[in-house]
Symmetry: C2
Subunit: 214 residues, 2 copies
DNA sequence: GAATTAATTGAACGTTTGTTTTATTAATTG
DNA sequence: CAATTAATAAAACAAACGTTCAATTAATTC
């Protein structure tokens, strides 16, 4: 046997990626074998090596594209105005939507860093750090402008990212809550966590001060 | 060669557990081989089978003891009084301290669930659910008593647990912050996140209401 | 329609895996 | 001090691993 009828390189490569993400998310990178992956795609193991030179290269590709996709999604979602609360809202909303839509890929990116060689790891961590820096700068700006209460910018950024990424651990798209409902609840928690002042609240605070001043 | 001078079953078993936790935390369960683990202990691979019948049994033991330890630590730390805010404070403090002191074991318990067979997985998840239930009941009691603002008890519990467990991802004991400082910051974030009313704040709220009533 | 290129199979490679078996020595018991 | 038990080493097992290679067929090009 050899080339099969209707075979198409692009389709096969896409099928390999999809199957790899699903399998690695469920069983872990080390536990997934090339033969198992090939069987899922409906192909022999040797065929995988036409698209990815090694097993680790496959993992690296999946992770890099996930991280680049996350950064691109944020660039597209980042609001033009520079109100820190609006930017924080956009950040949390984008993060939750992106990750819920890519539960498996997110699991891979979060759990399999240790399976990368040093060079590949460094490259992925660079992307991750760039992303986290976006949130830190929002929190810093908000604290300086007095619309956010943040004790420690770096620590709060980590806490928020861990909280909102954690959605994928329990969220299942066909259960009682929609993505929008979950996002709304997490947004409310984020705003309370950062002591965010909405414009309405700011007005109330001003009125209270005036009331007391009399 | 055979039994070595000074060999002691109890010490060897403890050494195996310690080495296993450290190796699995770093490389992942599937990536760690029995020979690698044995070499770390200073013994031949066959010797491991005197203490653990299979590789998975070793993992199950590590996980179960970690989860049982966590539940035991919480029972010991749980305050006698039933003030929800005090209980929430104790829960967060205990959780952070326990996990920071057992970073490697926590990583194993959080990351390697997928390497367990169905029965072993069920048993571990039972313990985990029991622990999470403790936090949910604190949040529910607090909301009913009006000292906490919680939209969705289950969702908030998951958010808090993910946030405070995330400490181990970045925390290193010899850096700029001590465990107590980190705990204080996370406690403050938890209290804001849940809209916790301290007794002092409750008094202020009452005073404001009286002021407005005039 | 012949020549070329793309896509895949099937078999094989040397390693490494978790685990078992048997022999051997150290420590303990009577 | 002999007998027994505890703790380990050394060697071997079949199975599975990531990867390579040559052969083969489908699709495309000229």
């Amino acid at each position: 046997m050899a080339r099969t009828a209707g075979s198409d390189g692009e389709k096969t490569e896409a099928a390999i990626r999809d199957a790899a993400v699903a399998l690695i998310a469920r069983h872990g990178f080390e536990a997934v074998t090339m033969r198992q992956l090939a069987a899922e795609v409906g192909v022999q193991a040797a065929a995988l090596y036409r698209y990815f030179p090694t097993k680790e290269d496959l993992l690296r590709t999946l992770m890099r594209e996930h991280m680049e996709g996350l950064l691109a999604a944020w660039e597209a979602a980042r609001p033009a105005n520079d109100d820190p609360v609006a930017r924080l809202t956009a950040f949390v909303s984008n993060h939750i939507r992106f990750h819920v839509e890519r539960r498996h890929a997110t699991h891979v990116s979060n759990m399999e860093l240790r399976s990368l060689s040093r060079d590949n790891l460094t490259a992925i961590l660079k992307l991750r750090t760039a992303y986290e820096k976006e949130l830190r700068s929002i929190l810093r700006d908000g604290a300086e402008a007095g619309v956010l209460e943040v004790d420690d910018t770096g620590l709060t950024a980590m806490a928020i990212i861990q909280m909102i990424t954690g959605v994928i651990v329990w969220f299942r798209p066909d259960e009682r809550l929609s993505v929008d409902e979950v996002t709304a609840t997490y947004l409310a928690m984020t705003m309370r966590l950062t002591g965010a002042r909405t414009k309405t609240e700011e007005r109330h605070v001003r009125q209270d001060a005036e009331l007391r001043a009399r």
